[in-house]
C-alpha cells in the first residue's frame, strides 16, 4: 500500500511533529541545502536559449514530482512513516490558518527584514540557518499576504479555469503560452498589476520573503505548495482522460524556437535519468488523502 500524502489541516499533532522533526534532521545532516541548490541551478528562464526543465516549460509538473519524491524519500530514510503534506491554498487562505502554527510552519516575518520569529524554522530556534540564499541574512524570511499592498491567494475559481483546459500544454511551451493546463497552473502571464500572478506563482508571491526568490526551497512550505500542485495535476489527468497526458509528444524540430529547449514526453529530464512519461502515474509510490 502506497503511503498517503495528507492535507496539512488534517494532520494530527503527532504527524505534524514527525514531519517537522524529519525536516529538521535532514537540515542538520546537510542534505536539505542540496535541494535548495538543485532548484536554484535548474531555474532557467525562457529568455535564455538553454534547455529548461523546471519552470516555464512543459516538464514543470514531472520535474517537481520527481523533486518532491526525492525529498520525501530522504525524509523517509529518517522516519519511514512521514509523507509530504499538501496545502490546499484555495481553502486555507489566511496567516491565521493552522499551517502557520508554531508546531508546523511558524508564522509570517516581522520587522524591516521580514524575519520569521515563530515556529521550528525561526532562526532563534537554532535549527534553521539559511546557508544558500540570495541575501546574506542567515534567517528565513516571509511576508504573508504582503500587508503593505495586500494580495489574496489564488481562488478555487482560478484553479477551475486552469483545470477546464483540455490541452496539457500548447506552443511555444514557455511562459508566454496563452493556453494549456500547464501554464495556467504554473501561472505565468504578461499582465500588469496584481493580475500578473496566477495559481502556483501567486502562492510564491503571497508567502513572500524566501519563497519569492531563487532560493525558495529554503522555506519548507515550498514542499506543501508543490504537493498541492502535484495533486492538481493528478486531478486534471482524471478529468481529461482522453487528452494527451503530456505535450509535446515529440521534440520540437530544428525550425522551432523551442528546439532543444524543452523536454518531450520520451526525452531525458535532467538531473535524473528519467522521462516525463515515466512520471505520469504516481500511484505505486504515494496517494493523496482527503
Amino acid at each position: 500500500m502506497a503511503p498517503t500524502r495528507k492535507n496539512q489541516s488534517r494532520l494530527t499533532k503527532a504527524e505534524r511533529r514527525r514531519f517537522v522533526d524529519a525536516v529538521l534532521k535532514l537540515k542538520r545532516r546537510g542534505e536539505y541545502d542540496a535541494f535548495v541548490r538543485t532548484h536554484l541551478d535548474f531555474y532557467v528562464s525562457d529568455g535564455e536559449s538553454r534547455l529548461r526543465v523546471a519552470h516555464m516549460a512543459p516538464s514543470f509538473f514531472p520535474w517537481h514530482r520527481r523533486f518532491l519524491l526525492d525529498f520525501e524519500r530522504a525524509l523517509q530514510r529518517i522516519d519511514a512513516g512521514v509523507t509530504v503534506p499538501y496545502w490546499d491554498w484555495t481553502k486555507d487562505r489566511t496567516p491565521a490558518a493552522s499551517l502557520w502554527g508554531d508546531d508546523l510552519m511558524g508564522g509570517t516575518g516581522r520587522g524591516p527584514d521580514r524575519r520569521v520569529t515563530t515556529g521550528p524554522f525561526a532562526r532563534g530556534s537554532g535549527h534553521w540557518v539559511i546557508k544558500v540564499g540570495v541575501t546574506d541574512g542567515d534567517f528565513l524570511t516571509r511576508d504573508l499576504g504582503r500587508p503593505r499592498a495586500p494580495i489574496a491567494l489564488p481562488t478555487a475559481r482560478e484553479v477551475a479555469d486552469a483545470m477546464a483546459d483540455p490541452r496539457y500544454d500548447v506552443p511555444p511551451y514557455d511562459s508566454t503560452a496563452r493556453a494549456g493546463f500547464r501554464n495556467r497552473l504554473e501561472g505565468w502571464t504578461s499582465a500588469r498589476g496584481d493580475a500578473r500572478w496566477r495559481n502556483h506563482n501567486r502562492v510564491h508571491r503571497w508567502v513572500g520573503g524566501h519563497m519569492l526568490g531563487g532560493a525558495s526551497v529554503n522555506d519548507p512550505v515550498f514542499w506543501l505548495n508543490h504537493a498541492f500542485v502535484d495533486l492538481l495535476w493528478d486531478r486534471w489527468r482524471r478529468r481529461h482522460p482522453r487528452s494527451a497526458p503530456y505535450l509535446p509528444a515529440e521534440p520540437p524540430g530544428a525550425g522551432s524556437s523551442q528546439y532543444r529547449r524543452v523536454v518531450a514526453r520520451h526525452e531525458r529530464m535532467p538531473p535524473w535519468d528519467v522521462r516525463p512519461d515515466d512520471l505520469l502515474d504516481h500511484r505505486a509510490h504515494y496517494r493523496y488523502g482527503g
Binding site: 528562464s45 536559449s49 538553454r50
Partner: protein, 145 residues
C-alpha cells in the same frame, strides 16, 4: 520497480557537482563585484530620492546603463556583451556593489534572483523591485544561477 522511480542514481555525485558549480559561480560573482567596486569611483551614499522617470533604454539606440540611489541603495546596471546561452541583451546589475542576478523572459521582461515570480519591463525596474523586497537591512549575497 521501474528505473526512474527506483534509482537514486548516485545522488552524492550530483550534489558534489552542483556544489562545485555553485562555488565557482559564487567566486566569479565575487570577482565581478570586486572589479565593479574598484572600477567605479566612490560615491557618497547619502539617502536621496530616486528620479521619477530614469530612462533605462533610449529608443532606436543601444540600451543605456543606469546608476542611481534608490531608497538609500546604489543601483547600477549596464548591458554586457553576448555570452553563450545568454540573450542578446544581457545585463550586469549591482546593488551597493553586490551582483544581482537577472534573467530574461520570452516576452522580453526581466526577473531578478530576489523575485523569480514577477517580471519587470526594464532592468532598472527589476533592480528597484529587488531593493523593495530585500528591505533596508539585508544585502545581496551575490549568488547567481
Amino acid at each position: 520497480m521501474s528505473r526512474p522511480w527506483g534509482t537514486h542514481g548516485e545522488p552524492e555525485r550530483l550534489v558534489d557537482r552542483v556544489t562545485r558549480r555553485h562555488l565557482l559561480g559564487v567566486a566569479a560573482s565575487a570577482l565581478l563585484a570586486a572589479a565593479e567596486i574598484m572600477r567605479t569611483p566612490w560615491v557618497t551614499r547619502e539617502q536621496s530620492p530616486a528620479p521619477a522617470q530614469a530612462p533605462a533604454e533610449v529608443p532606436d539606440g543601444p540600451p543605456a546603463g543606469f546608476d542611481e540611489m534608490y531608497r538609500g541603495r546604489r543601483i547600477q546596471g549596464e548591458p554586457v556583451a553576448v555570452r553563450e546561452g545568454r540573450t542578446p541583451e544581457s545585463w550586469r546589475i549591482t546593488v551597493d556593489g553586490r551582483p544581482l542576478g537577472l534573467m530574461r523572459r520570452a516576452d522580453g521582461s526581466f526577473l531578478s534572483m530576489v523575485d523569480h515570480y514577477q517580471s519587470y519591463d526594464t532592468p532598472l525596474a527589476a533592480a528597484r523591485g529587488a531593493v523593495d523586497e530585500i528591505g533596508p537591512l539585508q544585502t545581496l549575497s551575490g549568488r547567481h544561477h
